[in-house]
């Protein structure tokens, strides 16, 4: 497995880097959305897979980032790049604020409350609260991407923007896996009581996971708003959260797993678009079959990284 990953990652990055030049317009758009969904799914994995909290409202943070970018760009004339910090900070703050009162809830109750947040969010957007969200139509006509006087209007530059964001996310995930918070999250997912009893403040780390996941999803939202130069409420409905939720569980809580999950749950249905009426019928069976055959996902998580100095040769099997 380790050897495979050593080769697979560079190959994956090279393929992804040259991919847009091999695709036509429609498939370029699919590839961009693949990258964006991969980032959101990875952020969902931090909350759901890595920390074991049943979050079914990730589209809320995704949408909040997209709307932050859209409103700042459309109402206040900020350039897309300049909205990025706020598009990360605002969802992250909301993630922390919303998670605060609810992280103590038992699994299924947490799931319902996060669904609730998502639905309230969409309804707020649709009812145009404060007169800045554009109601059911959303906001359209955003500026195209510009950076240091380079005009990056073409679809290929949006692709590379999304690709850079994915690489950034992978870098964060990589660092998280080996860091103290990452190990704390892993531990609290495995056994919350044991984690508490060795002095891990589970509440703080759960809220931290929500904040981090929300921030990353917000960043993905910026890319999404850029791709369509528009945002509208239905793109962030609760059903979208169900998609991200299923991606992590079908793929498995690991980076390759999540990427496979996005491919299976988003790109495959796009490929079978011709069978419009039948595809989700069969897709549903595929989801059931996937779970029966691979209950922990297609590519499940291996044990989190433990720093070398903590591993002694002689207590491996203990």
């Amino acid at each position: 497995m380790k050897e495979l990953q050593k080769f697979a990652y560079p190959i994956f990055f090279v393929v992804m880097a040259i991919l847009p030049h091999l695709l036509d317009d429609r498939w370029q758009a699919v590839a961009i959305t693949f990258l964006i969904f991969a980032v959101v799914a990875l952020s969902q994995d931090i909350i759901l897979g890595k920390s074991g909290m049943f979050n079914m409202g990730q589209a809320l943070f995704f949408g909040m980032g997209a709307y932050t970018t859209a409103i700042l760009n459309n109402e206040y004339g900020w350039s897309i790049i300049a909205t990025i910090p706020l598009a990360i900070i605002i969802p992250a703050l909301f993630g922390i604020l919303l998670a605060g009162p609810i992280v103590h809830l038992r699994g299924d109750y947490l799931l319902v409350v996060t669904i609730g947040f998502n639905i309230v969010f969409v309804q707020v957007l649709q009812n145009n609260l404060g007169g800045i969200t554009g109601g059911p139509n959303g906001i359209f006509g955003l500026d195209s991407l510009r950076f240091l006087n380079f005009d990056l209007t073409s679809q290929i530059s949006v692709y590379y923007f999304a690709f850079v964001v994915l690489l950034l996310t992978l870098w964060v995930m990589h660092n998280l896996a080996g860091s103290k918070p990452g190990r704390a999250l892993h531990y609290l997912r495995e056994d919350q009581l044991a984690a508490e009893s060795i002095g891990i403040n589970t509440r703080v780390y759960k809220i931290f996971a929500f904040g981090l996941g929300a921030g990353i999803a917000g960043l993905a939202g910026t890319v999404y708003a850029t791709q369509y130069s528009a945002v509208s409420p239905e793109a962030f409905e609760f059903i979208q959260s169900v998609l991200f939720f299923s991606i992590v569980l079908v793929g498995g809580s690991s980076v390759p797993g999540v990427l496979i999950g996005v491919f299976v749950m988003f790109v495959l249905p796009e490929i079978f678009r011709e069978f419009a009426t039948w595809r989700y019928f069969i897709f549903g069976f595929a989801m059931i079959a996937a779970m029966i055959l691979r209950p922990r996902g297609i590519w499940p998580a291996t044990f989190g990284k433990i720093p070398k100095f903590l591993i002694k040769e002689n207590n491996h099997g203990a």
């Binding site: 809830l105 079908v250 989801m287």
Partner: protein, 298 residues
């Protein structure tokens, strides 16, 4: 005052439909610790099954006997679908991590929803007028016969279910399985049969709920299951999931709350207010109104 009484009547009607559907969620959760996301789509499917039985089997008859037969046949068909669902999508995953079963339920939901679309088409269908359109006007408060039937029949079914679960031997087996499946098995209870029975009861009650939705709202669409299912599921959570009287209480409360929001505030905010109520109640009582205060199993 008129608005109040009118919305009270509407709320009780909607609430009893929510409660019937919520019972399906709560019973399955009670025994299997599984959120059966396909239940809402089962409810939607039963409205369509009822429609087909009405046109194809009963030759569009609307006599009392015919209506009773339509209800019984629909409940029977949905009970069979429920058993198939359990065998196919949930039984293989009993020992798997809990979230795998949730994804399987989501997959089953997609299958049923798109199955309805493939069989009955994507357009809205009009549910037949099985009950004569009789209205009573009490000083401006209008109550229809459909509302009375829905309320009375729902209350009857709920009381019957409550007595069945609390007073009979089979009911005791259901309660025992929901407390501890392994211990129940050691006491000679066939847990597989109990789970099959749960799906039969839940699906038939959902079928009645689906027919009520058809009778009351008239327009039925293939994807309506998510909306009603989500509300019923909230009702179950509100009352304390796994708790049968809780689902009834939660359904009624939610129906009344929704009707009053629609009557006094605005129906465009109904969903948001409903969830805010739910979140506030869960913050104060983390396991619902009638839910037991148990620690999560470790």
């Amino acid at each position: 005052m008129d608005t109040f009484l009118q919305q009270l009547a509407n709320g009780l009607t909607i609430g009893s439909m929510f409660a019937l559907v919520a019972l399906g969620y709560t019973m399955v959760y009670g025994v299997m610790r599984l959120i059966n996301f396909a239940h809402g789509d089962m409810v939607a499917a039963s409205a369509f099954v009822g429609l087909t039985i009405y046109t194809q089997v009963m030759g569009q008859a609307t006599s009392l006997v015919a209506v009773i037969v339509i209800f019984l046949l629909t409940a029977l068909v949905m009970a069979v679908v429920g058993i198939i669902l359990e065998r196919l999508a949930y039984r293989p995953l009993r020992e798997a991590p809990r979230l795998s079963a949730v994804v399987s339920a989501l997959g089953a939901s997609l299958v049923i929803q798109n199955g309805i679309m493939l069989i009955w088409g994507p357009r809205m269908r009009i549910f037949p007028e099985l009950v004569p359109q009789i209205y009573w006007d009490f000083d401006g408060v209008v109550i229809s016969m459909i509302q009375v039937i829905i309320l009375v029949l729902s209350l009857f079914l709920m009381v019957a279910l409550y007595l069945f679960v609390e007073k009979t031997r089979i009911g005791a087996a259901i309660r025992a399985s929901s407390i501890d499946q392994d211990a129940a098995r050691l006491m000679g209870i066939n847990v597989n049969s109990v789970i099959a029975l749960i799906f039969i009861i839940g699906s038939s009650l959902g079928a009645v709920g689906g027919l009520f939705i058809g009778l009351y709202y008239r327009g039925i669409t293939f994807n309506m299951g998510w909306q009603y299912g989500l509300y019923a599921f909230i009702a179950a959570i509100l009352g304390g999931i796994g708790n049968i009287p809780g689902a009834m209480l939660g359904g009624m409360l939610l129906g009344l709350f929704n009707a009053f929001i629609a009557g006094y505030v605005s129906s465009t905010w109904a969903d948001a207010f409903t969830f805010i109520l739910l979140i506030l109640i869960l913050i104060v009582r983390p396991t619902g109104i009638l839910g037991e205060r148990v620690a999560e199993k470790v």
